[in-house]
Symmetry: C2
Subunit: 482 residues, 2 copies
């Protein structure tokens, strides 16, 4: 793994930023700042002909002046600067031969469709090919490795909490969306491992990105945004090769003919017919997300929750109406059975829940009512999670005057830790209504490692993905460590 | 309208709160506090046998001691107190005869299924029937009229911005969810007019709620959460009677057999087969929301946006990938045509957008690219909105380092005001990615009266609802003022 061909992108020794700038709204400033802020452990060299310091680092007039080692060059200068930068890199390779990876963040290359854009891209790609240098982009947002403390993106102030999710994207905007929305999440971040946007794919393409992250032991969940590839079959096979070992979640656009046409115009990808992808996704056990939000929710759940042992789900709700929304959503999947709990568990629920609670009417359902306090929520939940007839729990609550949601959140985390200590691990999906109103309580749960949901439908979609993937893995048999 | 039978619920002269309390976590405290906080203009009487002041108001030992007028009694005392409260109300009616409405917030009545619960409910309902008093509940969250400054709910610190949405709910939790998530919205609230939860429907039922809000001239959009009714046909006819004059948006649960069973268990409603509702909804031009979030988004859009004149939609995006997600979502509805703009507009876009922008490839689509600054966003948008071939615009942008989103938001509002001054009014649906990261910019737009969306799919769902309803109204012909 250490010498996987893309390791140079994630673990370079020494980085130069060409087009480094003192202007905070320029990519050439922000890339350098991100590398400084994450504490990149290698040598950082801003390249700027005007000289002077940038962010406390001495800038160099060109690449030849970088002391080295210099394994990565990040190109933030405009596309028109490409011939000059390639010239510098040629000289550096002749003199030192140390560059192993180029990340080209600038746009204005082949994606524009102009003659000169194509020429610059080919000049850059040709240089890299000749020297065995790996090229990411052009027109990409860049690469992050949380553990290795590298962030070549130009997105400001994103959080870098460690986790098991790695994400590869054929859209910089989708990648940026993910990083920013995670940073703005209730817990102030969502843990992840590696992040890669492939841009114009002049060298490193989406398939190689999938293979590299799939082979990476720090990646527990592989997520991707896909527009397509001329090698569609190869793409799904690469993803399928990963899915026998770890969950793969994909948002694949071009579902419609119109979307496919737009994808082609965007990155020149051949989207292929959606039916081909859909069938292959199912065959290879890939999880398909229907929206950007679902993609994020599903990746997070796979990284944080145990897989369910079966499809028997208990819906435990303090909110009547939203509970029915959840029942509808579960039934519409055609995937779940109501979890029938035993007589002792029913009796225990009657004992710990408010007297007006509705228990097992219908089966697999408890409405603990708005009279429920934090203790009721968690005591009843314990009964349900302990019952051997329950594979997973969807939990729904809405803020009330009487309910201390943060206290409930802390007690819920305690309960899960206690059960884990006894070997009881089942997916619990807490829906905490309503929106930002309940952000503090959601923050407590998410900081404690338990993702939360803002609608019953969102939780059910995620549980459906966990349940389908668990069934796939059981069918596929042991295919490697997860 | 002034003497519509439910006006006593929205405009009572004098309110007593039975079970008023000094304990902030009690409903009997919060209801009184909400009435004080919204500035209820009539006399407020806390009823508490212990006497003393509550929230600066002298409490009375019982209803007979309230000076009056006393048109509404809010019951916050436990269900077991019902016989005593009914006795007090009997005495009050004998002596003064001024009570016109009762809101019973307490739970523990017929919904529990207990013998005594049913008896208390029947005792309360029977008393109200005999005296021609309208009863809301029991087991309801209550009533709000923003203009009349009444709020009998026990939900703390919700915002009461004026607007045209009225909402009636068969679930207190869904109603509470709406109020809290609106309060936590980027603009610090969402304008609405009236709010009603019908609880156990011992007297006022969902049908009468629909009729009352439908007849109310301050209600421009009628939203509802429905579990069902024994008079299903009557229910959809009542809603249909409103829909010829103003948009009606419904989240109807019990879509599945399992959901219908849960609904029956929750409020005893006969959910009816979903196919019946679905067919009737279509026949009567009712807009069906598929989720709680979509319900809120759709109501807000109807209250804030003009209806589209047709189905020709331009997708204007700064973010390539999310733009394709939007194209897919639009195409999947089977409802829209790409808006083909004229040669002059194409030329104008080429002039005002960044050189690398992709214009009308495919038709009805522009990718202005991440190079776009605030001015690019808004200048190009103006070109598109002015083109006579465009009925509606879905606008997508993701925060970048170079883009001042709040400046863009202010310019966008200016543009819309200018166009409105020239008689150009078309629905514009701005998708501002990513989540809370862009809350300030979304706040600017929403304070300016333009709802925003956090995913392309959400915007497309809302535009589909506007487009379908506009077509229904055109087919139905002029059916009253909107």
């Amino acid at each position: 793994v250490a010498d996987h061909p893309l390791e140079a992108l994630f673990r370079p020794a020494g980085i130069a930023v060409v087009g480094a700038s003192r202007t905070p709204t320029k990519a050439g400033y922000q890339i350098l700042k991100n590398l400084v802020d994450v504490g990149y452990p290698g040598a950082l060299a801003p390249i700027n002909p005007a000289g002077g310091e940038i962010l406390g680092l001495p800038s160099r007039p060109d690449l030849s002046a970088v002391p080295g080692p210099l394994e990565m060059v990040v190109m933030a200068a405009p596309a028109a600067a490409t011939p000059g930068v390639v010239g510098q890199m040629e000289a550096r390779m002749a003199a030192r031969g140390d560059i192993r990876a180029v990340v080209c963040s600038a746009a204005g290359f082949a994606e524009v469709g102009s003659e000169e854009g194509r020429r610059w891209q080919e000049q850059l790609a040709g240089f890299c090919r000749r020297h065995g240098i790996r090229l990411l982009g052009p027109n990409c947002v860049g690469v992050i490795d949380v553990e290795a403390r590298i962030d070549t993106t130009f997105i400001a102030d994103t959080s870098h909490l460690p986790g098991g999710i790695s994400f590869v994207s054929q859209s910089g905007a989708v990648g940026a969306w993910l990083l920013m929305s995670w940073t703005a999440a209730p817990a102030g971040g969502v843990g992840f491992h590696r992040f890669l946007t492939v841009g114009n794919m002049a060298d490193v393409d989406i398939i190689e990105g999938i293979e590299a992250l799939g082979a990476d032991p720090g990646t527990r969940v592989l997520g991707m945004y896909l527009e397509g590839s001329p090698r569609a079959r190869r793409l799904v096979e690469a993803a399928g090769g990963v899915a026998v070992r770890k969950p793969v979640v994909a948002l694949k656009v071009g579902r419609t003919a119109e979307g496919a046409q737009a994808a082609h115009s965007h990155t020149g990808s051949m989207a292929g017919t959606d039916a081909l992808y859909e069938g292959a996704f199912r065959q290879f056990g890939l999880v398909r997300a229907a929206s950007i939000g679902e993609l994020s929710d599903t990746m997070r759940a796979f990284d944080s929750l145990p897989l369910p042992a079966g499809n028997r789900v208990f819906l435990y709700t303090q909110a009547g109406g939203p509970g029915i929304v959840g029942v509808d959503a579960m039934a519409a999947t055609g995937l779940f059975q109501p979890a029938v709990i035993g007589p002792a568990a029913r009796e225990a629920l009657r004992r710990v829940l408010p007297p007006i609670a509705s228990i097992c009417k219908p089966e697999g359902h408890a409405d603990i009512t708005a009279a429920a306090l934090a203790g009721h929520h968690v005591d009843g939940l314990e009964v349900v999670l302990r019952d051997p007839g329950v594979d997973a729990v969807v939990f729904i609550t809405v803020a009330t005057l009487f309910l201390d949601l943060e206290d409930m959140a802390r007690r819920m985390l305690d309960l899960l830790a206690r059960l884990r200590g006894e070997g009881i691990e089942k997916p619990l999906l807490p829906v905490i209504l309503s929106g930002n109103w309940v952000r503090p309580a959601r923050g407590v749960l998410e900081k404690g490692g338990l993702p939360t949901y803002d609608s019953p439908e969102a939780a059910v979609r995620v549980l459906a993905a966990l349940t389908r993937y668990a069934a796939f893995r059981r069918r596929a048999g042991p295919g490697g460590g997860r």
